[in-house]
Subunit: 244 residues, 2 copies
């Protein structure tokens, strides 16, 4: 994301902030991996102009009470298992937009719903900001890179790989002509259920814009899933593209 | 407000927009008085640089779903009788701020809660905007100026005047040493109840910052009221200032 920012912007500001308002009371805010020194070294290597690293109390002073939320997009996928999560995301992104006032903002595409929600906010609240995204970066074995991966214990990595394997399975079935979402979800689920450490939160196939359930894959369609591996909640997604 | 803007700004933009999202389903959006030609003539007389007069569908296109809301300040005064009202206000003000990007924004002080809520949003969402306010303008007889006054029928004007009279009564009692909010509210209510056309929505005495109920007036304290006169909902307020 930093490298993308360096390509598209004259002045590049990176925010390093683990945002408490997007974690639920029973979620892993306290355990969320922060690697500030590594991140700062990366920023320096990329040639970032400034790093914005506010204290929590600076972002949310006493009496803080204003939130940005949406009425539709959060009622899907991760929004259902993480009530309030996207309200927290929208609020902190609106704050960062107003503090930094960027012309362009770069997000990682791994959290598909997050980018969809940010784009919708930009449109609805008239932020004059262009949203750029970078594709999910994967380890050599296919695991989508995430800060949370460092919390996987030995032996859990195989279960973590099941997300990508399940998506690949569904993509292959689509290429072979399967278009029924129910069948695709079943097959993907079977891949994950082979791993006793993995517990499925959701597997969904949905319209890539509205995130409404799509019963058939008759156009490029989002397949998104969330799986808990031990204590670690992982997400991944793919766009399923049927042959013509 | 336009004159104040002309004094404080180099470039002055006035927005003329009756915002549907701040009216409830049973409220007077359709009947809200719009006097576009008069407003434009005023803008011209004051030397406004631009008028922003968007169409409703331009502000709220299909699929619109992002809202700004607060968790505390709207749970008081008008927010209680008009659920969703301040969510609509905050949302449209955030949009106007992002579209116009003003350095200074001018609001009328008549709706005390509205300004409190906008100031809180500016702080919480880090808008780099200074909020200026202008005091309530009153007719010669004391009636607070409002677009809605034009909807008062003959004979209802006296009832409408009861809001200001009730506030004056309370101010006088405070100067005479009464500090108990309950007594002040009773006396103010009695003034209004003399008019059969007037029906009290609320009379409150509350902390001028938090809007929490204040049982005694031992510092400058807000007295706010909302009264329905026939079909027309009117509001007014005063700051009660006890003698030392």
């Amino acid at each position: 994301m930093m490298r993308k920012g360096r390509q598209v912007a004259n002045d590049l500001v990176v925010s390093l902030f683990v945002n408490p308002t997007q974690f639920g009371p029973n979620e892993d805010f306290a355990a969320y991996p922060q690697k500030t020194e590594r991140d700062l070294a990366m920023a320096e290597a990329v040639g970032v102009d400034a790093v914005f690293m506010p204290a929590t109390g600076e972002m949310y002073p006493e009496g803080f009470q204003t939130y940005v939320d949406q009425s539709e997009l959060p009622d899907h996928l991760c929004g259902l298992s993480r009530p309030g999560h996207f309200r927290g995301v929208l609020t902190v992104v609106a704050k960062l937009f107003n503090i930094i006032r960027p012309h362009i903002a770069v997000f990682g595409r791994k959290d598909y719903q997050q980018i969809a929600i940010v784009r919708q906010m930009v449109r609805d609240l008239n932020f004059d900001i262009e949203i750029e995204s970078v594709p999910t970066v994967r380890e050599a074995d296919g695991l989508a890179m995430s800060s949370r991966n460092s919390r996987l214990e030995d032996g859990q990595r195989e279960a973590a790989l099941s997300l990508h394997q399940a998506l690949q399975m569904a993509q292959e079935l689509v290429l072979r002509g399967e278009r029924r979402s129910e069948r695709l979800i079943e097959s993907a689920g079977a891949v994950i259920q082979k791993y006793p450490d993995a517990s499925i939160d959701y597997i969904k196939i949905c319209d890539a814009q509205t995130l409404n359930d799509a019963p058939v894959v008759d156009r490029p369609t989002l397949m998104a899933l969330a799986v808990k591996v031990g204590e670690v909640r992982l997400i991944d997604h793919a766009i399923l593209e049927p042959r013509d």
